[in-house]
Each structure stands twice: as C-alpha cells, then as structure tokens.
C-alpha cells in the first residue's frame, strides 16, 4: 500500500510520460484512474482495519447476551439505547459488535479459500499446461466433472460429507473454485510456452521445474490476479450462503450469513437484525468486485493506451 501510494502518479503529465515507470507504479497509474476501483480499495482497507482492530473498537463482546435489552432498535429509532448503536438481536447481543467481529470471518474465509484454491489450481494448471499429454487430459476431465455441478450445490454436498462447520465450508468452496484457476493458468502457460524466451531458457539448460514456475509462471500472473479478486468475493458470498443455509459457520459465531439465518424469523418485527448483516456482505463484496474491475482494466494490456 504505502509503496503504491508513494508512486510518482502525482507528477505532471509531461514528466510522467518521460519517466519510465516501474511495473508497480505503472499499475497504480492505470488503477488510480478508475474511481470505482479506488473507492473499492479504500473500503476494503477499511474492512481490513475493522477486522484487525475488532477487539479494540467493538463496544461489546460478540456473544454476550444482555437479557434486559432484547431486540432493541438502532439508536436513532424510538426505543433505541445509546449502549447499542445498531440495536440488539433476539437474545440481546449487540448488533454492531457482532458485525465488527463478523468481518474477521468473512476476510478469513476469503483469504484461506483464495490461497488454497490458487496454490492447488495454479500448480496443477502450470504442470498440465506445460506437460500436456495424458496427465493434462486426466486433470482437465476431472475439472470438467467439478464444473458440471452448480458450485453452491457441490459445496453443499461436500459439506454434507465433511459435516457442517466453517472450516469444512472453506474446504468445500476452495475445491469448487480451483478448476477456474487450473483452466486460466493452463491456457496462459500454453500460450507462453512456445515463446522465444522460454525456448532460450530451455536451451540454456534451465530444469523443467524452474522453467515452469520461475520462467513461465510470472508472465501468466495478470489474469490470475483478477481471478483471485473475483474468487475472493465469490468465496465470501458462498460462505455466507452456506452459513445462511445452516451448513457453514454455526451459531453463535457472528458470521454474517449465519446471523441472517438466525434473524429470519424476525424479519417482519425487527428490520435491523435482517438488514445490517446483509448490508455488510453486500458492501464488502461490492468493494472487492470494484477492485477486481479496476485490476482487470489496469492489467489487461489490450485496454491500455500505450
């Protein structure tokens, strides 16, 4: 972050055009032109800060039940209480604190799922794309099988096997997502491996492992970074959906989807217990998708006005 904001994008247009830019500052130059993307990044940074500082900024514990304050409305509505800014739920837990702690779960899910799906998917994709042949055919058919199921349904079935919990939901979502990484990486590697610099490296005696992961892979990263952003938001949505269906995080975990499931029976009596967790999911996912769009525009060479 600090590296990026320090990039010389504040230079005047003339000097900026004359100074050769490093890849990072060039990226930031294009990324920062997209207002939506910068807004998304700012909001995402805010959510990250909230998640990291949850213990310090949350006014209450996420699970403490105030039995004298059941279903209190938000503070601006009649009957609200200044102790509970966004009101309380059916067992008297502070909504704001639960939302703050909930951000930890969503970001955690996103990070773990993307990391897991990416490591496995990219490794498989690089190997299949480079080697081709029977191994390639086998892996690709396997990926076709995973893709033949609607992703949420497959995740549900996997959780049914593993048992409902947040960990198992993350495993299931990572399994469902990694075919996309395999396909993307494989396609990128296949188009790169015939290029001259790869041949040159091979002739120079670079061993296959190094060739695949050090020579070719760095040149395939652009679409993968965009995919990572998109699958981060999908992972948050899917984990919330599984939580909502009772197959993800279990109560009393303050996971946003699980909170919505608990709130369902109060939808006509207490709008705040239903509205706020959903707003939190929507804004987080929206911020990441905005960033993803900006990343795609900044990294896609076709759209660059060079």
């Amino acid at each position: 972050m600090s590296e990026q904001t320090a990039a010389p994008h504040k230079l005047t247009a003339d000097t900026a055009a004359l100074t050769p830019r490093g890849p990072l500052s060039e990226f930031w130059y294009y990324f920062s032109e997209n207002r939506g993307a910068v807004t998304g990044l700012a909001f995402f940074a805010f959510i990250c800060a909230v998640a990291l500082l949850a213990g310090m900024i949350a006014p209450h514990s996420a699970t403490e039940q105030y039995r004298d304050a059941l279903l209190f409305p938000p503070v601006w509505q009649e009957g609200g209480d200044w102790r509970f800014l966004l009101g309380t739920d059916a067992v008297g837990r502070d909504m704001l604190s639960r939302l703050i702690y909930g951000s930890q779960y969503s970001l955690f899910v996103g990070c773990i799922v993307v990391a897991g799906a990416m490591v496995v998917g990219v490794t498989l994709g690089v190997i299949t794309g480079y080697l081709g042949g029977n191994f390639d055919a086998l892996v690709m058919r396997l990926m076709d099988i995973i893709l033949a199921f609607p992703s949420l349904l497959l995740a549900l079935a996997l959780v049914a096997i593993l048992g409902p919990s947040l960990t198992n939901a993350m495993i299931a979502i990572a399994i469902v997502q990694q075919p996309h990484y395999v396909r993307l990486t494989r396609a990128a590697v296949m188009s790169e491996k015939g290029k001259d610099y790869v041949t040159a490296a091979r002739v120079a005696g670079v061993p296959p492992g190094r060739l695949m992961f050090r020579t070719i892979l760095p040149n395939c990263m652009a679409p993968l970074i965009v995919q990572a952003a998109l699958s981060f938001s999908t992972a948050i949505l899917d984990a919330a959906a599984l939580g909502f269906l009772g197959m993800g995080a279990q109560p009393p975990t303050p996971e946003w989807g699980t909170m919505l499931a608990e709130a369902r029976e109060f939808i006509l009596r207490a709008w705040w217990v239903v509205t706020f967790p959903g707003v939190a999911i929507l804004l987080t996912v929206l911020a990441i998708n905005l960033m993803g769009d900006g990343l795609r525009d900044a990294l896609d060479p076709k759209l660059k006005r060079s």
Partner: protein
Amino acid sequence: MLRFFLRRIALLIPTFIGVTIAAFAFIRILPGDPVLLMAGERGTTPERHAQLMEQFGFDRPLPIQYLDYLTSALQGDLGISLVTKKPVWDEFFVLFPATLELSFCAIIFAAAIGLPAGVMAAVRRGSWLDQTVMSTALIGYSMPIFWWGLLLIILFSGILGWTPVTGRISLIYFFEPVTGFMLIDSLLSGQKGAFSSAVSHLILPTIVLGTIPLAVVARQTRSAMLEVLGEDYVRTARAKGLKPSRVIGLHALRNALIPVITTIGLQVGVLLGGAILTETIFSWPGIGKWMLDSIFRRDYPSVQGGLLMIAAVVMVVNLTVDLVYGLINPRIRHVG
C-alpha cells in the same frame, strides 16, 4: 459441421461417466457404511445388518457395485428415498417443473431487462445512463440473493402487502397438475383468479433468482456491443447514412448477441445453484429446496440422485449452448 457436433458430444461422455462416479462415491465416502446410515440412530441387529448389506448389494466389490449403479441409473432407477419410500426418479420429476418454471421466468426477466439496458449503456457510453446501468449491474452482481429475497419480502409482503410470501399458488385453488407448470395449469383449470394467484406467487422469486443473471447479461451485452460498434461494417453502415436505430438494432445487435446468448445459456448452473437459496426463502416446492431438505434429513439416495440429475441437466444445457454457438457462429466450428 457434423464432425463438430460429434466431437462435442464425445467429449461429454468421459465427463458424464466421471459425474456418475462422483455421485456413486458420494454415499461411499460418508463415514459409516450405507446400511448404518439408512438405519439412522435406531441402529440394527448384526443379523439384520448383514441381511440388508446383501439385499442392497453392498457386500460386493466396489467396481461391480458401480456397474450396477450405472446400469440402473441409465434405466431411470436412482434408488428409493429413505424418507418418502418413493423412487427418487419420480420425486425428481414431480418437483423439477417447479424449478424449471421459476428458472425460465428468471432468465426471461434477466434478458428482458439486461439486454436493452446493456445496449443503451453501450450506445451512450460514458453518459450518466451508462454509469447508472453499470453501477446497478455491479451491485446486482455482488448481491447476496438470500438477503435480497428477505428484503423484498419485508417490503412487498410485509409493509405493502402486495405479494404472498410462500408457495406457488394460494391454497384455496386446487387442481390436478397437468404439465407441472403452475402458470399453464392454472389457466387450464379455468378457475377464476387461479392464474393471477400463480403470477403473484412467482414475482418475487423470479426477481431474486434473476438478479445475478440480469447483472451478468447487462455487463456482457454492453461489452459485446462496444466491441461490435467499433467494427468497420458498423462504420460503413453509418457512413451509408442508415438510421442510427437501424445500425444499432440490425447490424450491431445481431452480432453482439452471439456471445450474449452463450452467456445466457451458461447461467443455468448459476440458476440451479441460486434455486437452492431462492426456493428455501420462498418455500418454493422445487429441486433446490428438495436437495437441501434431503441433505438435512440425511436422505442420501435422494441427494445422490439429485446430484446426478442436476449435473446431467447442466451438461445437456451447456452442450446445447455449445452446439447453438457453433451453428450461429461458423468461425468457431473449425477451431479445436
């Protein structure tokens, strides 16, 4: 052309076999053996256990069991539901029309709004209209639809009282299903008010299920239109002095539609996944709710059968989309 068709179909066979293996493995991966699973918490005596193992063929080698499963699945025998004791195949086809009807309405909704919105956004690129359409589309694309459904229920059913919350039709109407599609059946029944009741039950689920496809269609239409509008033949058409509406509607849109139709077709997986959430919220008696209920009731033959059938539906639709794409876009036929 025929070679292209056959090649695509041939590619599907290993995937289909893989899907049957995955569905077959589903029950075997679960902890505990299948008979214990079926017996549930009551448990069985060892003799009864052995007898059941033999009766269902679970004591035979796995490859033989799989071949048995495959042959009966191909003949439409997906086993017996543990809860209702009816064949899974019959259960599936009783509920499938409900999901089909909902998905169909959702995709019509998505296309009817998404296509014009995308076209207008592309034609007026950079205008406030473009920005509004695209930001709305991004919000729709980011929407947790289960929450969106709850919000719509609060607004339209709770506060305004316009639409019913659950089911496919008001309970005061009863008629034998003919097609399984409530919109058609309610018309056929000739009962006054039945059709409008069915429509009012459909509106909210349609919007909820159609939201993400709508966003995807609008975004895809816009980018396809933008690409086409920059082509030479569009400039030529403009230079000839054709009316803008004719250039956009006839020359540009026809070519832009090719990728859009593919996108719409590929939404079927999204729809069937979203149906689980939508049907759960609105108590819609379709496949999605049935699958979730089956998972909760540990009705494993139903889950297994449902997985196989849904994957088969997705594969057939994707194949159709692929073939149609080859048909309307000759360039693709000779590649790959």
